[in-house]
Amino acid sequence: MTMIEAIREAHDVAMAADDRVVVFGEDVGFFGGVFRCTAGLQAKYGKSRCFDTPINESGIVGTAIGMAAYGLKPVIEIQFADYVYPAYDQIVSEAARLRHRSNADFTCPIVIRMPTGGGIFGGQTHSQSPEALFTHVSGLKVVVPSNPRDAKGLLLASIEDPDPVIFLEPKRLYNGPFDGYHDRPVTSWKKHPKGEVPEGNEIVPLGKASITREGSDVTVLAYGTMVYVAEAAAEATGVDAEVIDLRTLLPLDLDTITASVEKTGRCVIVHEATRTSGFGAELMCLVQESCFYHLEAPMIRVTGWDTPYPHAQEWEYFPGPARVGEALKKVMEG
């Protein structure tokens, strides 16, 4: 199934199992979301468990916090990650800190889903990857699935989680894997092994990375769309890269990362977000802190540039396999 179907199914499974799960957001109710991730839920569970909201992201998160304090488990959609900023205060100052400041008198088990990343000519307001703006915030968890199987399992785990989870969905992966070769024919999840999604309530635990390609030359840390770009770059260059799909950025599976870098002695970090203070900075930092004496060459970041996401220059902005491939070659020379 597609990632959209997987996400929809995760909602369905969770709503069927637990009356407290409620789903809402802009265009989420009758229509089922502009990407159709919640299609059919209103018809199945009724208007008080899946409904449309006014266009007010802060209100969506704010009411979800209140509902969570009551005892519900809201799973909410921000239509594009680019539109999460109006809700930033409610997320950072309220959802993230409620458990701590009240000493668990009140807690905030909410899931905030949002499509991220580029590759669809969405320009600066339908392409952003704001993960680093959440990983800096204590009290949040940050999840990025890269395939339908993980999307379902991680979303189910996020809904079960007792704390607020930011769930970032790489929109370019909704309908099929994408390795950055934008001029090649698109592929669908239908024929992909990760498109086979187990039925029922099968969880993929938060905080566990997955090695999607074993290798001995260099460790590539990636998540979301960049997992496929990294794999493609390894194939294209012949560099025997070990590609780690982080899956959860916060809390991070540092053990898997460390073990790999200790083995390879080299590390390339890839993300779509702008470079400066991106999540790549934290990753590189953690690797230098824990693997300094194993490093044989400077680590390299391949990222979006420090500019707004452009429209016409999409493919010059997007860190595709050519740029990642160059980094792989360069890190091998270092």
Binding site: D27, V34, S48, P86, G123, T125
Partner: protein, 411 residues
């Protein structure tokens, strides 16, 4: 005691009509044209409270202009207005096709809402500043902005003034009083208030206009705009374009329990007026009234333009999934072009023949311009803009880290 109370339940407003239902606007109260009086521009907001629940209309069913608000425009100006609307509609039609042909990534049309931005534009003065959403291109077309430049922007070609950085239709023209469109809903509404405050701080006579959709009034920036406009009596005209839909969500979700969007102004002591958004004459007259009010220092006005989004939300949208196909046709305020055309014919200043000819001329111009634009380039045809352009303009002077990145990128 709490046993005495029956269980609560959540109220989720629903539109009257979903796909397959019969559109029914019988609940929608439409006052007859000419019924609403035109108050003096220095009226106290409280005295015109009822205007937020009525609708200023000038054109009646017979195509006559009636009442206090009529008479603001000459036949020549009305024909010009008609031409603007025809141009916008033809422009939309061609750009929709161009998008479907893959010449650009995205487009948003104005179908059914042409009167609002076209009629408003001519009520302003040079130097005034609009803070539009993505559905007011009529401000540019009626304001004399070159259509070729609009198309260059849509195609992200080598002569796109925004150098390919922005999504199609996110125009910007300081010279034409058109603030850079943001993809983020609502943000520009409060910015317009700031611009107006700046004009007042500077002892200027310019005014600003803010624009927002019905759905987007729910955004917090709407509140910020109202609070600041009210407190500082900013010379601003705040426009809500209520086209009944926000993508798939009907206006009732944003409006909640209040009668109208215009009524939002009452909580802030702001003069609030509803106008028939499909009536070119009414929009123009109300715009002029509000602009004069602002310019004379009597403060802000909130205008709700009542209209209907006859097309899809954007090229990414198919409205048949959430509203009935016949709803647009059932919309009781009619089509703005048809109504102005009928009026001009009624007063003997236009004819079916001239109309057909005008339509054809307009379409010719649009197509000719389109050819020029496409000769310059379309999205992804391998022509400019250059990747270098993406690094430029982030700051006035490119800082070292961006220079390094640009070099790393090879440009």
């Amino acid at each position: 005691m709490s046993d005495d109370f029956p269980p609560l339940s959540l109220n989720v407003p629903e539109p009257g009509c979903r796909p397959g239902d019969t559109p029914d606007f019988s609940d929608f109260e439409i006052p007859r044209a000419g019924a609403v009086k035109r108050p003096p521009v220095d009226v106290e907001p409280d005295e015109i409270r009822e205007m937020a629940f009525s609708i200023v209309r000038v054109l009646n069913k017979d195509g006559e202009a009636v009442g206090d608000w009529a008479g603001a425009l000459t036949p020549e100006e009305l024909r010009e207005g008609l031409r603007h609307m025809l141009t916008l509609r033809a422009f939309d039609a061609r750009m929709l096709i161009a998008q479907r042909q893959g010449k650009t990534s995205f487009y948003m049309q104005h179908l059914g809402e042409e009167a609002i931005s076209c009629a408003f534009a001519t009520a302003l003065q040079p130097g005034d500043m609009n803070f539009p959403t993505y559905r007011q291109a009529g401000l540019l077309i009626a304001g004399g902005y070159p259509m070729l430049t609009m198309m260059n922007q849509i195609y992200s070609n080598a002569e796109d003034p925004l150098h390919g950085r922005q999504l199609p239709i996110m125009y910007s023209s300081k010279e034409h009083g058109f603030f850079s469109i943001s993809g983020n809903l609502g943000t520009q509404f409060v910015q317009s208030v700031g611009w107006a405050m700046a004009s007042a701080i500077s002892g200027d006579t310019k005014i600003a206009t803010g624009w927002i959709g019905d759905g987007s009034t729910a955004e917090s920036d709407f509140h910020s705009a109202m609070v600041f406009a009210s407190t500082y009596d900013a010379p601003v005209v705040l426009n809500i374009v209520n086209n009944q839909w926000a993508i798939s969500t009907f206006q009732g979700i944003a409006r909640g329990g209040v009668g109208t969007f215009a009524a939002r102004g009452h909580g802030f002591g702001i003069a609030s007026i509803r106008v028939d958004g499909n009536d070119y004459l009414a929009v123009h007259a109300v715009a002029k009234w509000a602009a004069e009010r602002a310019r004379r220092g009597y403060g802000p006005t909130l205008i709700e333009h009542v209209t209907y989004r006859a097309g899809g939300h954007s090229t990414s949208d198919d409205p048949s999934a959430y509203r009935d196909k016949n709803e647009a046709a059932a919309w009781p305020l009619g089509d703005p072009i048809e109504r102005l055309k009928k009026h001009l014919i009624t007063i003997g200043e236009w004819s079916e023949e001239r109309h057909k000819q005008a339509e054809a001329e307009v379409m010719d111009t649009v197509i000719a311009t389109q050819k020029k634009a496409e000769a310059i380039g379309t999205l992804g045809d391998g022509q400019a803009p250059s990747p270098r352009d993406m690094f430029e303009g982030v700051y006035e002077t490119m800082p070292p880290h961006l220079i390094r990145q640009r070099q790393e990128a090879g440009y």
